[in-house]
Amino acid sequence: MAPILKVEDINVYYGSIHAVKGVSFEVNEGEIVTLIGANGAGKSTTLNTISGLLHSKTGSITFMDEHLSRFPCHKIVSKGLAMVPEGRRIFLQMTVQENLEMGAFTQGKAGIDADLDHVFSLFPRLEERRRQVAGTLSGGEQQMLAMGRALMSHPKLLMLDEPSMGLAPILVEQIFEIIQELHKAGTTILLVEQNAQAALSVADRGYVLETGRIVTSGTGHELLESPAIKKAYLGG
């Protein structure tokens, strides 16, 4: 198991706010790795830095043996790295199908129909609403669309930022089932969650972020059983 993604000593600032402080971790091919931590710990900042929306002052990010900092943000997705951002950020004025096509922006036209079919088999609800404007979808459907859109680029590594945020428990369960399904099909996953219980139970490994620093790491099982983690993130 070689690391597909290696993050080494990144420091990210918003002006004078030091949001991510010397974070290092890696994701091995075929794993589900989770970053957990309280609101404001720096999870989204970390993901946004990996995907090129933000930049680190130090260190390096290596994805499949390439240094990502050499590339502008819009070149990252064609390397096989896709992100489902926090708050979904689908294109609300476009239709479901147009959103999915935007996800395939860097792909040739040839495979699009097969890719759409693949996404629709994972999310049948999206197929029923394919001509509907995305802004009219429910929250859960929007999350499915955001995930489907990311999958259209055939990612080797899929990064998900709080996919369960604001969803009813039944939908959360459904989203986690899909994550496991994608994992079984060979996609490596980096999952950011506040819902630590759910995230750790599907993850091979996890890292705990606190105010911009990684304070603990271990296998999903170890973290679930750790008394300190239980106390801080799993409600006792």
Partner: protein, 293 residues
């Protein structure tokens, strides 16, 4: 019959406003900035066409194409040199820069072409069609202007709905970060938007000066402000909004001139704008989107 004459001149003037308003609205939609120099690009386009046709005796169509090329390059250059370095700056700084660019273009025009008014030769001649025994007259310029507006609107609607670049523009106008995550080059898309808007400004400049033939370095500023108003009126960021806003503004302006007072026509136009914005703050076709949880 005079009513019909006024209506047609209103639609014709409104078509020019609509073409200019497209430039404002597209740039606003994608770069989220008001390019106040847009009106002056119109003036540059008109001068280029004027010199090409009157001094170098090029055929009018070649003059228009040349004006479009020059304005396209000018628009991209202005974006690259003046606005791109301010991508992360507060919007007030960008606005002030845009006003600066506007003065820069006007003064450069003054230096190059002097303040002496040029009499612009109509690119489609001065012919007209008379109907109902001369009661209704429609000039060729009017017909070409309205036709140009319709063609441009249809072409742009098709472009944004069906082409890769057009869809990239729509994505950028909604969420630049998400667009980059899709692999869209946002800088290239913004540059393309300025190119299209400025190319259209050249067409508007030629049509404007064909209908109102006095060309001076400040020719673009009043139509620029009116077209900006039209864009806000219709809902800034919306392409059909630019059309609707432009046409309404043109018709209201001509009717106000005809039936109320020539001096007060602009006041009437802006009063209508204020009323519309009070009732519909996002403009007639502007969308207010609410996020879902």
């Amino acid at each position: 019959m005079t009513f019909l004459n006024f209506l047609i001149s209103g639609i014709s003037l409104g078509s020019i406003y609509a073409i200019i308003a497209l430039g404002y609205t597209m740039v606003y939609g994608i770069a989220k900035m008001l390019n106040f120099a847009h009106g002056d690009v119109i003036m540059v386009g008109a001068y280029i066409c004027f010199y090409a046709v009157s001094r170098f005796s090029l055929p009018p169509l070649a003059g228009v194409v040349l004006a479009m090329l020059v304005c396209t390059v000018l628009g991209m250059l202005v974006e690259r040199l003046a606005y791109k370095p301010l991508r992360a700056a507060p919007s007030l700084a960008v606005l002030i820069t845009a006003i600066g660019v506007s003065y820069f273009l006007q003064n450069t025009a003054l230096l190059l072409w002097s303040s002496n008014p040029k009499v612009f030769p109509s690119v489609v001649g001065n012919g007209k069609i008379e109907m109902f025994g001369g009661q209704l007259t429609i000039s060729h310029v009017t017909i070409v202007t309205i036709a140009a507006c319709v063609i441009i609107m249809l072409a742009l609607t098709w472009f944004t709905g069906n082409t890769r670049m057009g869809k990239a523009m729509r994505a950028c106008s909604e969420d630049k970060g998400a667009a980059q995550l899709m692999g869209i080059n946002v800088n290239a898309t913004i540059s393309m938007t300025f190119a299209i808007g400025s190319g259209l400004a050249a067409i508007a400049g030629v049509l404007l000066c064909s209908a109102y033939p006095t060309l001076v370095p400040t020719t673009g500023s009043m139509p620029g402000i009116k077209a900006f108003t039209a864009a806000v009126f219709g809902g800034i960021g919306s392409i059909p909004g630019a059309l609707l806003g432009g046409l309404l503004l043109g018709v209201i302006e001509i009717f106000a001139k005809a039936y109320i007072s020539t001096q007060l026509s602009d006041a009437v136009v802006f009063a209508v704008l204020i009323v519309v914005l009070l009732v519909k703050p996002a403009g007639l076709l502007g969308k207010q989107i609410h996020e879902k949880v």
